[in-house]
Amino acid sequence: MSDPHPPYLHPPYQSTPLRAPSRPLIVPAYGPDAVELSSPVFGHSELGTFDNDLTRQHRGEPLGERIIVTGRVLDSSGRPVPNTLVEVWQANASGRYIHARDQHPAPLDPNFTGAGRCLTDADGRYRFVTIKPGAYPWRNHHNAWRPAHIHFSVFGTAFTQRLVTQMYFPGDPLFAYDPIFGSIADEKVKERLISRLDMDTTVPEWALGYQWDIVLGAIPAEDS
C-alpha cells in the first residue's frame, strides 16, 4: 500500500521547509498500544442544535450560495464509522475567514462564523448545511490563490487515524496553481479530496448538494 498522504517537505508550500521534520520517523517497536489504538468518545449532549447548520447560527441568513455537504466516514475496509466527531471550518462566500489574522480585504458576514461539527450517524454519515466558500489570496508566492475548500477534522476509532484535511469542489480552475492541493503527487489520490455534485442530495428550490466520503487509514493492528 502506498502512502496517500503528502510529504512533510513540499518546498512550493513555503511554510514547510522550516517545519517539516528532517529526521526519519521511528516505527514503534511493537506498534502503537491500547491508547493509540483507541479514540476519545464524544456524545450528542456535547453538541449544540445548530452546530451542523452553519446558516442558522446567527440572527439572519448568511450571504452566498447555500449548499449541503454530506458523506460517510469509512474505515479502510469500507465499513462505516458511526458516532465519530466531524468538525468543519471555512471562509465565507467572499473568501474571508472570521479569524483575526485573516487580513484579506473582503467583507466579513455578520451572519456567518464558518465553523461547525456533528457526530456521524449509525451509517457513518455526516451532514452540514453551509455556504459555498469563496477562493481567497494568500502570500505563499506572487498571485497565490487557494481553491475554494472546507477544512475537515475527523477522529475515527484510533488516535493514529486522526485526520485533518480539506474538501474541494469539482472543476475548480485553481487546482493547477495550488501548492497545498498539489502537495499530493498522484492525480488519482488528489481526486479523493474533491466532492461530487449530487442531484439526489440537492434540495429543489433550496440548495445544491455535494457528496464527499472520507476514508480513514488502516489501524496498524488490522494490518498484521
Binding site: 514547510t16 521534520p21 528532517s22 529526521r23 514503534p28 517497536a29 489574522r101 477534522s153 484535511t165 497545498i180
Partner: protein
C-alpha cells in the same frame, strides 16, 4: 484497496473553530491530583509556532483507556482523557490533566500546524519512571534521541515538554 483520504494542512485559520474553552483542561487546575504539562513548539530556526494545535489522549490514573463522554463539555467529574490546545503568540501550550497509571505512563501527542501537511505524532513520557528503561517504544528510539520524549519535571505538579519540529534537537516522531 487503499482509498485513504489524504491529509491536508490545518492551515493558519483554525483558531476560531477547533480550540474550545476547556480544551486544555482535561481536569480543572484545582483538582487535587492535577498536573500541568506545558511547553513550546519550535521550527527548524528555533522560532516558536503561534499557529500550532496540540492534542493529547491518554489513559486515566487507573491505567485504563477512558470511555467517558465529556471531552468537549467538561463535567468536572468523569475523566475523558482528551485535551486540545492551540499555541499562543509565543508558541506556548498547556494542559491540566492527571498522570496516567500503568507501568510506563505516557501521553499520546498529535501536533498540527500551518506548514505541516500532515500531523506529527509522538509520546510524552515522565521522568524518573522505572518503567521507562524497559518500555519497548522508548527502547526502540536511538539512545541519544530518547530525551526528546521525556518531559522535564519543574516541580511536583508541573512538567515541561517542548516540541522541536526540525533540527539537532528534533523531537522523535513516530510512523504509525
Amino acid at each position: 484497496m487503499n482509498e485513504t483520504t489524504p491529509s491536508q494542512t490545518v492551515g493558519p485559520f483554525f483558531g476560531y473553530a477547533l480550540p474550545y474553552g476547556d480544551g486544555p483542561r482535561v481536569v480543572p487546575e484545582w483538582h487535587p491530583d492535577a498536573i500541568r504539562i506545558h511547553g513550546g513548539v519550535f521550527d527548524g530556526a528555533g522560532e516558536p509556532l503561534p499557529d500550532a494545535l496540540l492534542e493529547i489522549w491518554q489513559a486515566g490514573p487507573d491505567g485504563e483507556v477512558p470511555r467517558a463522554v465529556g471531552a468537549l463539555t467538561r463535567d468536572g467529574h468523569d475523566f475523558a482523557g482528551f485535551g486540545r490546545c492551540g499555541t499562543d503568540a509565543a508558541g506556548h501550550y498547556w494542559f491540566s490533566t492527571l498522570k496516567p497509571g500503568g507501568p510506563t505512563p505516557y501521553l499520546a501527542l498529535l501536533v498540527f500546524a500551518r506548514g505541516l501537511l500532515k500531523p506529527v505524532i509522538t509520546r510524552i513520557y515522565f521522568p524518573d519512571e522505572p518503567g521507562n528503561a524497559g518500555d519497548p517504544v522508548l527502547s526502540g528510539v536511538p539512545p541519544e534521541r530518547r530525551d526528546t520524549l521525556v518531559a522535564v519535571r519543574e516541580h511536583d505538579r508541573s512538567y515541561r515538554f517542548d516540541v522541536r519540529l526540525q533540527g539537532e534537537q528534533e523531537t522523535v516522531f513516530f510512523a504509525v
